[in-house]
């Protein structure tokens, strides 16, 4: 019998082994599969390789990437945010309601949406940091509370332009900035892609280039040791969940801009997608922990696959299987063919 204990973290963390190919596959497994996918699809379908389609793929991954980056931040401090989907829904309803029901302007709606996201993040943070409830359990409760608040606030109804408000109809409309977020372009690049790109750059810089990123990872690695070297652990964990809430809010704003209406549980589906992107990202470049670049690739990976499969008219019921299969292969390449932690 040989067990995992034989892999000391040291060995795992130093993939500087002799076998260059194995090492390459380990670091680049997911990227290689992604590249192969792109090549194959491009050869097989003339439209796939076009700039327009590339934009569609990025557009399809933009929202997932933004929420996923939020999840990534909470994961770096060793947490887990189950409330991101509920937060997105809340922000969607707040922003849509602000404009449609209360007739606020676009910027105000955006600010209110971001504030709602931060509040949800704060709720998480309070439950975890001050009430000392374990992350998963706390964010689960927060998920119910945030969802519940959303549902209560609008009596479970959807918000759309001209909706009925008892005796009258709503007169507000979606502001121009939301129209732009929903369908604007800059140099042929969709606005949501630009927003997601900026968010990615910011999170990447934060996690990889700043001392705060170091601190996040340190807290995730060993909170006791982090406190012992004088890191205000609580404050940073609060910040991490606030950022997660903020990014969920950004994603919610992109979502409401694209759908031009507010449905009470529209964000829920994004929880699993965002977590998937972040988890798939673990394997990218051999990081083996939550990281910004990996999450981006995770989001793009799934979007590319679905785009390609749709183009080839794969029935929807076959897409899930292919998704699982490719994901499995990529993970096998990254984890299993990676540096042997056994003899």
């Amino acid at each position: 019998m040989s067990t995992d204990i034989q892999s000391s973290p040291a060995e795992r963390a130093t993939p500087y082994s002799k076998d260059a190919i194995t090492h390459f596959i380990y670091r680049y497994g997911l990227l290689v599969v992604l590249a192969l996918m792109i090549v194959v699809f491009s050869i097989a379908h003339p439209f796939f390789g076009t700039f327009a389609n590339a934009m569609f793929i990025l557009q399809a991954s933009a929202i997932v990437a933004v929420v996923g980056l939020g999840c990534t931040i909470s994961m770096t401090v060793g947490g887990f945010d189950l409330a991101v989907g509920a937060t997105m829904s809340l922000v969607v309803m707040v922003a849509a309601g602000a404009m449609v029901i209360y007739g606020f302007s676009g910027p105000v709606a955006i600010l209110l949406g971001l504030a709602a996201g931060l509040l949800a993040g704060l709720l998480n943070a309070m439950l975890i940091v001050y009430a000392r409830i374990p992350d998963l359990v706390a964010t689960l409760a927060a998920q119910f509370l945030v969802s519940g608040t959303t549902l209560l606030a609008v009596n479970g109804q959807s918000i759309s332009e001209g909706m009925s408000l008892g005796t009258t109809s709503a007169t507000g409309t979606f502001a121009p900035i939301f129209k732009w977020l929903g369908s604007g372009y800059v140099f042929g690049v969709h606005s949501s892609v630009i927003v997601a790109g900026l968010v990615f750059l910011a999170v990447f810089a934060l996690l990889n280039l700043t001392k705060w990123g170091r601190i996040f990872y340190a807290i995730g690695g060993n909170p006791v040791a982090a406190a012992a070297v004088g890191i205000p652990v609580r404050r940073y964990r609060i910040i991490a969940y606030l950022l997660s809430g903020l990014l969920s809010a950004v994603a919610g704003l992109l979502l409401v801009a694209r759908s031009n209406r507010g449905d009470v549980s529209v964000g829920d589906a994004y929880l699993l997608q965002a977590v998937s992107a972040a988890l798939v990202g673990y394997a990218v470049l051999g990081a083996n922990r939550a990281n910004a670049f990996g999450t981006l690739i995770g989001a793009v990976f799934v979007a590319t696959l679905i785009n390609g499969l749709t183009m080839f008219n794969f029935p929807y019921y076959a897409q899930t299987f292919v998704q699982g299969l490719l994901l499995g292969v990529a993970l096998l390449m990254s984890y299993t063919l990676g540096p042997k932690s056994k003899r």
Binding site: F47, S160, V266
Partner: protein, 337 residues
């Protein structure tokens, strides 16, 4: 703007349009909902008719997400098909794509999108209001007509277009019949709607032992309600007024001692075929008008039992009203091979 009922302007002598003869037609289908029998039947109807007419389909499945559907619609426009069929969804979300389609001169046929009739696209729906009216009529009849009285439970979740349209009819109905006492409104929609509706219905019925009717205008609701009535052994007292039909629903309705007494429905396979034909006619430039409502059938438990049907195929044969092969049919469509 008033809708103009859609009609076919082709005559019996018209040739098969060149594009169709060359089998050079491509239609994109962008649907919001895809998982479940209803949606499976709908696409099957479209596919079989497309097969027959030699049309190539690109199907985009949005998994119930409006934003995804909106994006898919734009993506479909970018691939420049001959026409686009939009299944379910909201005009709010779809507007940019619809505009892009208009700009690109691609005809759009929408199904159950709840759009106002317009010149920009053809709207088709499955007659939710007549369906609701149909089952409520049966309810009134069962309660003896006239000034009906009794405790009722209503199952509803807002935010789903078809349910919302059915709800407007319900609200009128309950207002017109003050003797009806709405003791509980329940509802849940998720991937296990039936079982969770059953849990709720049971709690509501336990609290209100005199319920005579559960109005459940969606088959998952109706199944859940029937389950709950059965589990409480209240079949003799409480009846379920449901909607839609599938093979499984048939089994529930004709089952021994079933409380589900009536349903109103269209046949989704037929609906799909009608949509496809309408689209083909539009591509051929032979469609006048811009709106089409597919007439539903109201089917009672007794009728089902008499016809001894077991599944949707047999139902289709037994209830010819469900199949409308002449709707939106141009004569040349039979000549394509």
């Amino acid at each position: 703007q008033e809708g103009v009922p859609a009609t076919i302007s082709a005559s019996a002598t018209d040739e098969v349009p060149a594009k169709f003869a060359e089998k050079n037609v491509r239609i994109a289908v962008v649907r919001q909902l895809n998982t479940g029998d209803v949606y499976q039947n709908w696409i099957a109807g479209i596919e079989s008719e497309a097969d027959r007419l030699g049309i190539k389909l690109d199907v985009y499945n949005a998994d119930g997400e409006n934003a995804k559907q909106a994006l898919f619609l734009q993506q479909a426009v970018a691939t420049k098909p001959d026409a686009i069929i939009v299944g379910w969804g909201f005009v709010d979300s779809l507007a940019p794509g619809l505009e892009a389609a208009k700009a690109a001169n691609i005809p759009v046929i929408t199904f159950d999108v709840g759009a106002q009739p317009s010149d920009d696209f053809v709207t088709i729906d499955q007659g939710d209001k007549p369906m609701m009216a149909g089952i409520l009529e049966k309810l009134k009849e069962d309660l003896g007509g006239g000034d009906i009285k009794g405790d009722v439970i209503y199952v509803y979740v807002p935010g789903y277009q078809a349910l919302d349209r059915r709800d407007t009819v319900w609200r009128e109905f309950i207002a017109e019949n003050p003797g009806l006492n709405l003791v509980a409104q329940i509802g849940v929609v998720n991937s296990n709607t039936a079982a969770q509706t059953a849990d709720q219905a049971r709690a509501a019925m336990t609290a209100n032992p005199d319920v005579v009717a559960i109005v459940a205008p969606y088959d998952e609701f109706a199944k859940g309600a029937s389950l709950a009535v059965g589990e409480l052994g209240r079949q003799s007292k409480t009846k379920v007024y449901g909607m839609d039909i599938s093979t499984a629903d048939i089994a529930v309705m004709v089952g021994e001692n079933s409380p589900w007494v009536v349903t109103a429905t269209t046949d989704m396979v037929n609906v799909g075929a009608v949509i496809l034909r309408t689209t083909a006619a539009k591509i051929a430039g032979q469609l006048e008008g811009n709106t089409l409502s597919i007439t539903p059938a109201v089917i009672t438990q007794a009728e089902l039992r008499d016809a001894k049907v077991q599944n949707v195929e047999e139902l289709r044969k037994a209830f010819s009203a469900l199949t409308t092969p002449e709707v939106s049919r141009a004569p040349w469509m039979d000549a394509v091979e």
